[in-house]
Symmetry: C2
Subunit: 344 residues, 2 copies
C-alpha cells in the first residue's frame, strides 16, 4: 500500500538502512536545518567553520548522499535538463553535438539526463518527462505539440527548447531546417551542368523527418529551372542498392543526391560494380561530410552540415531557465555548405 504524501521525505524510512539527513544531524549533534544549510551550500545563512566541518565529517562517515529529488522538491525546481533520445539513430554528427552539449551544460552545473525511447509518443511522452520535474527540456524532432509544451511548463519546466524543422507554440526553437541541405546539394549539381537529378530517400521510416525536407529542399532549388527530380527510395541493404543500380541506365539520370554520405557509399559501390562511371556518367553528392567520403574513390562531394555549438545552446538553456517568463526565442541554427571533391 502506498504511503500518503504528507510524510516528510527525510523522515520516511528508506529501503533497508539508507542514511538520512536526520542521521547526519544526530551524529554531528546539530539540527537538521543546519545539515541542510551546510550540504546545500546556502550562502544566506552563516555557519561556523567547525560546525560545517562536523556536518561534512558526519555525512562522509555515514556515506550520506543527498537526495536530488528531495532537494528539488524543497528548492521548487531541479538542475535536471531532460533530453529525450531521438527516435532515429542520428549518426556521428549528431552524437558529437549531443556530447558537446552535455559537457557545456555540465559546466553550468546542470545534470543532463537522456530519456530513453519508449512506446509513448508526442504529448503522452511529455507527460512521462514531466513526472521527472526537469528544469528544462530539450526535444529533438517533431513530435512535441503545443499541448505537450504547456503540460511541461505547468509541471515546472522553466524552459522547453525544440530542435527541429518548425516552431512549437510556447517553446524556444532551434530551427534545424534540413531543406537547406537538399537545396545546397541540388543547386550544386545544377551548377555543374546536371539536369536529370535523382534524390535518394531512405526507406527507413525513422529517417523521414530528415529525408522529406532534404527532398523538398532539392525540389525548391530546381523549381523553374527545367531540371527534373526523380525520387529514389532505397533500403539500407546491398541487395536494394544492387536492384537500383541494375535499372540505373533506364532512369537516364546524370546526377544523384544520396541523402547522406553513408547512402552515397552504398549506392556508389553498387553503381561502380555495374560499370557506371562517377562522375562522368553520374555525378554523386552526399551530405554530412563524414570521413568515409574522403576515403571513397572518386572522393565524395558532400554537403557539410553545421550545427550550433554545444556552448551556445547551453547558454540559451541557462538564459531561459533564469528568465522563464521571457518570450520564446527562435534561432535558425543549421548551416549547409557544399564541399566539392571528385564525385561531382
Amino acid at each position: 500500500m502506498v504511503q500518503i504524501p504528507n510524510t516528510p521525505p527525510s523522515a520516511s524510512p528508506g529501503p533497508r538502512s539508507v542514511p538520512t539527513s536526520a542521521d547526519v544531524a544526530r551524529l554531528a549533534g546539530v539540527s537538521r536545518a543546519t545539515v541542510s544549510y551546510v550540504l546545500n551550500n546556502t550562502s544566506t545563512v552563516r555557519i561556523s567553520e567547525p560546525t560545517r566541518r562536523r556536518v561534512l565529517d558526519a555525512a562522509r562517515e555515514l556515506g550520506y548522499v543527498p537526495h536530488a529529488a528531495a532537494r528539488s522538491l524543497r528548492a521548487g525546481h531541479s538542475r535536471m535538463v531532460l533530453m529525450p533520445s531521438p527516435a532515429a539513430p542520428l549518426g556521428p554528427l549528431y552524437g558529437r553535438f549531443v556530447s558537446e552539449l552535455q559537457w557545456a551544460l555540465g559546466r553550468l552545473d546542470y545534470t543532463v539526463v537522456q530519456y530513453g525511447t519508449t512506446a509513448a509518443r508526442g504529448d503522452e511522452a511529455a507527460r512521462a518527462w514531466a513526472e521527472l520535474r526537469p528544469v528544462a527540456v530539450l526535444v529533438p524532432g517533431t513530435e512535441l505539440g503545443p499541448q505537450g509544451v504547456s503540460l511541461l511548463r505547468r509541471s515546472g519546466a522553466r524552459a522547453v527548447v525544440t530542435l527541429g524543422p518548425a516552431c512549437v507554440d510556447g517553446a524556444h526553437a532551434l530551427l534545424m531546417d534540413q531543406a537547406a541541405v537538399g537545396h545546397a546539394a541540388a543547386a550544386h549539381l545544377y551548377a555543374r551542368g546536371r539536369r536529370r537529378i535523382g534524390v535518394v530517400v531512405p526507406r527507413d521510416p525513422a529517417l523521414e523527418t530528415f529525408s522529406r525536407p532534404r527532398l523538398d529542399g532539392a525540389r525548391d532549388a530546381l523549381r523553374g529551372t527545367g531540371a527534373e527530380i526523380t525520387e529514389l527510395p532505397l533500403a539500407w541493404t546491398e541487395e536494394d542498392a544492387a536492384r537500383l543500380a541494375a535499372r540505373w541506365t533506364g532512369l537516364g539520370l546524370d546526377a544523384v543526391f544520396t541523402y547522406d554520405d553513408e547512402y552515397a557509399m552504398l549506392l556508389m559501390r553498387a553503381l561502380q560494380d555495374t560499370g557506371v562511371r562517377i562522375p562522368e556518367d553520374t555525378a554523386v553528392i552526399g551530405a554530412d561530410d563524414l570521413m568515409l567520403g574522403r576515403l571513397l574513390r572518386p572522393r565524395l562531394s558532400t554537403v557539410r552540415v553545421e550545427l550550433p555549438s554545444g556552448a551556445d545552446l547551453a547558454a540559451l538553456v541557462d538564459r531561459a531557465v533564469r528568465n522563464p517568463g521571457a518570450a520564446p526565442e527562435t534561432h535558425r541554427v543549421l548551416g549547409a555548405r557544399v564541399v566539392r571533391r571528385e564525385s561531382t
Copy 2:
C-alpha cells in the same frame, strides 16, 4: 534561502502555479489520500468507480502530473534505471544494443535514464548518480570501483550491473571481454598462413578500454607460435594513415588486424593508394561487421561481435531489483566470430 526538509512535498508551493494533488483533491471533493490511491492505481484500497472518475477528471482538468520524485520518496524507491553514457563514442553496434535494452526495460515498466558524461569520474560520478536515487544502475566501462558500488547500494540502488572487462565487488557483471575479439582476429590470420602480423591501436585515448584488450587478445592467440605482433598506433586521420602506409614495406608485415572496420577502411585506402595489394601482400581483418566492410573492395573480413540481447539484460535487471539481497551474478556475454570475406 533553502526550505528545511520537513515540509510535506505536496504542500510546498511549486514554482508559479504548478497544480498539486491537493488541488486535485479540492476540485474532486475527496481526500488527498484518495487522490493518491487513484493516481497510483493502488489495488489494496477499493475506490468506487464514480469517485475514481471524479479524481481522474479533476486531474485532467487541472493538468496535474504526478511527481516521480515525490512518488519515489513515498514508495522508497523509483522505477528509474540509470545508465551513465559511456565516455567513448562506441559506434553503431553499441548504440543498437542500448536502444534495444531501453525498449526491453520500458516494457517492464522501468524508465531508462542516460546520465550525461561529466567531468566527474569513478566514485565521484557514482555520488552524482546516487543523488537521483535510481532503483538500478547499469555502468558501461571500467571506472566504477567497489566503493562506488557500495555508495550506490547504500543510497538505495537495488542492483548495480557493470558492463565491462572485469568484475567489481558487490555488482552484477556482464563481462564483455574485448580480448576475445583480438584473439579471434589473430588466430584467423595465423590459420591463413600469416606470421608477421600488425595490430592497429587507435591513438584516441577514449578507445583504450577496447584497443588494449583487443591487442592483448591477439598476443595471446599467437603466444608460442613463433608468429610476431607489431603494434601500430594510428590516429583517425588520412594523414596519419598515409604516413603509416608510406613505411609499410619497411615493416615487413604480411597481415594486419585493424582494431575495427572503420580503421580498416582508413588503412586499406592508404595502403591501396600506395600500391599494396590486399590480400596478396597484406591480409586485412577488421572487427564489428559494419555494412561498410561489405562495400569495400576487396570485401573486408571482420570479427563479428555478439552482444547479449537487450531482453536478456532487462530480465537480469528486473530479477536483481526484485531480489536485491541475492549474490551478484556474473555472465560472459561477448561472443566473437570471424566472418571471412575477400581481404584475408
